[in-house]
Symmetry: C2
Subunit: 667 residues, 2 copies
């Protein structure tokens, strides 16, 4: 119970502060923003009676002693708003302070006084307050306030007195010296994590380095990957993500198509990490040396791409940890370790860590050290495998520790599990999160899910990363929808979510064959074997992907999720939505035919008012995929999409500008 | 920042608890319940991986060291629910604890084991866990668990082993001895205030004792009030509320109709409290002695009514406090105290307290002492005048202090002000709150407002008390709507809100004359003068009021607000809604014609599914006001209401019961 004894707090602290936003679980977790963002903070602030309140937003970088202060302004209904710009990555804090401002109250009251005697008394009251402010001021402000107070005491004429009391310039000085002795400060210092832009806007390409050789039967290497970089760069991706690159266990190694027994030539699953030659800090010999890795990373950077590594905290049975740290595993009465299971899947080649180990602290330190090792090699993006099978307190600690050293680090949570678990991972610190996008196919499902992602409480901390496929997820829609399905899902991922990714070359080459009907596993999955890919195949989507990614780079609207808005179409096979940049200058409207088999058409109904377009002025819809330009007018317009030709429009909406400086009159 | 150092908490505490409900500002304030309520608590509880969780609801009376524990059961989507019954008034606390239960996880896993070797190893693992449980158990439970473990180690036959491992009775014993060493307990102990039933269900009658004499020119007294009790009781009210009964100031006393100057015979406003003969703990001489007051209170109690007093923390200029405690007032430079204002209203006869006084602690103590004094006289219901002009911290402290001594005390907040201020008062401790009901007239307004009151976040702490009139509020609707308007507003207040009140006899005698057009002040308001009332007048609504109040007493549905539900009517002048008791046995459907001038009719559409009535079985609508019974069938039924005859139906919905024991076959 709080404040039932009078002695705990000064009972004259009359200002009340409630419901600060953003606020994740009342400040238990950090909201997330990007460098350069204006962080808009609101709170309910009020007091008893009719006095006037002053409110300040307090903010600082975590660890700094002093708060920065920004004035908050009242909106309606006792809601106040202020903002501050975050200029570098790292952790910040913010809260709100408010007080009953007697000078402001007096001024409000004085403005309404008319009677002579009343006015003179009110002027005396004001003079007292202004003299007190003068005591808090220095230099010429103090002199000015003192003289103002003296004149308020001396003037007799009502009209002159009134004008003097309401003087704006004097008041501006007095306002700078408020009496904050009885200010209330909201007791929770809300944390804020500020990331670099890629945390919000990123285009991922996943590939297996061992399949990069382009020579039948030869194990791919980092050098092969380096040669592959221009291919990936040309498609416009900025994150190149590799499954684990470490030695692969030999004990219980899996064969092709997840066979329980591997042949002598089988390469096993890269997620079965560790063998005699090393574990999570070592490289699989066939991939190359650390120098090769460094060369690859440097080349990627030179081509505006960044490597992302896979953090899979689990071990092959012959990982050195098993002998060196037996306490980190859960031993069964028969002297074996229970292998990992994700029912009905069994991973006989993988031992999970035992996080309830009595040496949990040693385990935590070592695991963070693994990431620190790769961060030391310049890696800043980590795709974390199955984080939901490790304790949340571990991730909260680990990510906080690592971001203290590497505040530009990005962690993508690969958790396809229950919604609250996924949200908790985002709350404890993951920068981005995989989503259910792969299984949301209908207009209703997509609309509901992305509305929740972009407008629900998660919008403050859960950054979606949409993947139409992964090595584990070949969806039914892709299996049966043919080439149009691949285009549809690519365009949806890339325009609904500011961050998205594909697993290639399986994706651009339309690999749609499951291991067996009814599963989402790929036949001859790269998880268990090397694959060869004909990157030059005519059916490749690589050019279309390039157009999509360039549209994303050119249009700030597609680089964040906050403005996503769906519009009605009178055909449930067509979905329409828009995004804009913060200034509403750049507008992108996407229309997709979700039916991969049939031509669909319908009337799209935009909210022109939200775009600041009047109903009678035409506007141009510039399809960024085909290059075609359409002249639209009014809210309702007709769209027809043939999946065999082009199942989607990604329109830049260009408003008419009446100037000869623009060639086509639309911007 | 929390838990970034490994040393602060055991990192193996893997259970997560989020989003406990009810929760008022994350446990900063108490939720409110009534004696006998089952307090249903929910929380999101989950852990990493696939282990099984156990969750307990912890609760206790505030001040008790030990928690009571109640099992929580999983709903869907990681939500858990448990409940406890509060059997007496006072303050309680609750929170939730959860842990990964290895015995439950093992049992879940064991159920799926089939292979022989695997099953035997799993049995050994279980035996270890059961032996650990045996160490925590005593007596025959320990013996039983030990023998269970021993048999799990010994049995060889797979089928027998499986049956033994899944034994329900043994498991029930083992579950009672979980390992809670790594349990997570939600860190906020949520407070709960439990009130007596009248906090939720009350029918208030406000009257001025000084107008109770029934003799022209004679000041009414407590004895007159005592004689008036049967009249009020017959109408079915259970709270009789008096404006202040203390000496009235003589300095700046107001005359009739708020005249600034009073004549020698004028009685002044009872809210101008205090004169030479005493202040807030004294009685106005004309009303009688403390013995008269006690006699009145006892008579009221004998007639199932309770007195409610007015707590108006303000002073007439001649209140003894002004001389005795000058620090409790704000002095102006001219040596006067600024009188109270509630712009544009001026209260020249009233001095506010200065809560920023350096002696604020002395002031707080004295004010609480005033309430304590009347509580000592047996008064337990207080209507608090303008609480929003006193600091919130004062009320939080004062109400908590007083309810510690008098946990059955009820405080009604008379604050007609901004929504967040009203909510804050309810949060800091007020038991009931006045509402905007008086100004919500249309179907849309009423539906929106009462939906917010009963389903918004305030439902946990803000208990509405609906008043169609007060001595300050004679609404336009009443001024122009005639007798039907008075009936409409009475029925709405009494059936929309479990607590309601009227200011009489002005209400039942249809006093509708404002002091001047465009104001809500009564002409010849009792606030400033004595009025005479002809209680026997033929136009009196007293009989109708009695029927309404008896309907409220007989129907539990009308005694709480949680179940309120609105139904469509195809005529905006008709409003229809229902309430039920918790068991859905008692159902009351109200239909009101909001148009006081014209007959209105329309089709009402009930949600029969919600009532458990099938579409083809007729049901009886028993009008509790007229006594008429209608046979309805299906969701849509026709209603016509003539304001001149009966502008409202208050139906008890009686379902058909096929038994000869019920005379009319409907219950």
């Amino acid at each position: 119970m709080r404040k039932t004894a009078m002695t705990e707090e000064d009972g004259r602290m009359r200002a009340v502060i409630e419901r600060i936003t953003p606020s994740v679980d009342n400040g238990r977790f950090a909201a997330k923003r990007i460098v350069g963002d204006a962080v808009v903070v609101e709170a309910d602030c009020f007091t008893d009676g009719h006095d006037t309140l002053a409110c300040l937003l307090l903010w600082r970088r975590e660890g700094e002693a002093a708060w920065q202060e920004t004035a908050m302004a009242p909106l309606v209904n006792d809601r106040w708003r202020g903002s501050f710009v975050v200029e570098s990555v790292g952790r910040y804090q913010y809260t709100v302070t408010a007080w009953v401002d007697h000078f402001l109250s007096w001024r409000h009251d004085f403005a309404r006084r008319v009677e002579g005697e009343d006015l003179r008394i009110a002027a005396q009251v004001g003079a007292d307050l202004i003299e007190a402010a003068a005591q808090r001021a220095k230099g010429k402000d103090r002199t000015l306030l003192k003289s103002w107070a003296a004149r308020l005491r001396a003037v007799v004429d009502a009209q002159v007195l009134k004008t003097l009391g309401m003087d704006e310039e004097f008041a501006a000085v007095a306002k700078r010296y408020p009496d904050r002795n009885l200010a209330t400060t909201y007791p929770v210092e809300h944390p804020l994590v500020v990331d670099r832009e890629r945390a919000r806007f990123s285009s991922w390409y996943e590939m297996f380095p061992r399949s990069a050789s382009n020579e039948p039967g030869r194990h791919g290497s980092f050098r092969d990957c380096e040669a592959r970089l221009p291919y990936v760069a040309k498609m416009g991706f900025d994150v190149l993500y590799f499954p684990p690159i470490h030695p692969i266990g030999r004990v219980n190694r899996k064969g092709p198509n997840n066979a329980v027994a591997a042949g002598p030539e089988d390469t096993g699953s890269p997620w079965a990490i560790g063998a005699a030659e090393g574990g999570h800090k070592a490289l699989l010999g066939e991939l190359g040396t650390i120098e090769d890795f460094r060369s690859l990373a440097a080349s990627a950077q030179a081509q505006d791409m960044e490597l992302a590594l896979d953090i899979a905290f689990q071990c092959a049975p012959d990982h050195p940890y098993v002998e060196e740290h037996p306490k980190w595993f859960k031993w069964r009465p028969d002297g074996t370790v229970q292998y990992a299971e994700n029912p009905p899947k069994k991973y006989q080649d993988i031992y999970p860590f035992e996080f309830e180990s009595e040496d949990w602290q040693g385990l935590w330190q070592e695991l963070v050290d693994v990431i620190r090792f790769w961060a030391g090699e310049g890696v800043r993006i980590f795709r974390v495998d199955n984080p939901h099978t490790k304790p949340f307190p571990f991730w909260e600690w680990a990510i906080t520790e690592l971001k203290r050293e590497y505040p530009d680090a990005i962690f993508l949570a690969e958790a396809f599990t229950r919604p609250k678990v996924m949200h908790r991972l985002a709350k404890v610190g993951f920068t981005q999160s995989y989503t259910y996008f792969a299984w949301r196919n209908s207009k209703h499902e997509l609309t509901e899910y992305f509305t929740e992602l972009t407008q629900g409480p998660g919008r403050e901390y859960f950054r979606p990363n949409a993947w139409p496929n992964t090595p584990d997820i070949l969806t039914e829609y892709l299996q049966f929808g043919g080439r149009p399905a691949f285009i549809v899902r690519l365009v949806l991922a890339a325009t609904l979510a500011a961050s998205y990714g594909i697993y290639g070359p399986a994706y651009e080459l339309l690999d749609a064959t499951p291991r067996e009907p009814g599963t989402e596993d790929y036949l001859d999955s790269e998880k268990y074997q090397i694959r060869e890919w004909n990157l030059e195949a005519e059916h490749s989507l690589s050019e279309l992907i390039a157009r999509v990614n360039h549209a994303r780079r050119d249009n700030p609207a597609l680089q964040s999720d906050a403005t996503l808005q769906f519009f009605p179409v009178d055909n449930d096979s067509l979905i329409c939505y828009a995004k804009s940049d913060a200034e509403q200058e750049n507008l992108v409207v996407t229309v997709v035919n979700l039916d991969p088999h049939h031509v669909q058409s319908g009337w799209v109904e935009l909210d022109l008012g939200a775009f600041g377009i009047d109903a009678h002025t035409p506007y141009q819809m510039h399809d960024l995929l085909s290059g075609a330009r359409f002249l639209w007018s009014g809210a309702r317009n007709f769209v027809q999409l043939d999946p065999q030709r082009a199942p989607a429009h990604v329109f830049a909406l260009r408003r008419k500008v009446r100037t000869e400086r623009n060639f086509d009159y639309f911007l």
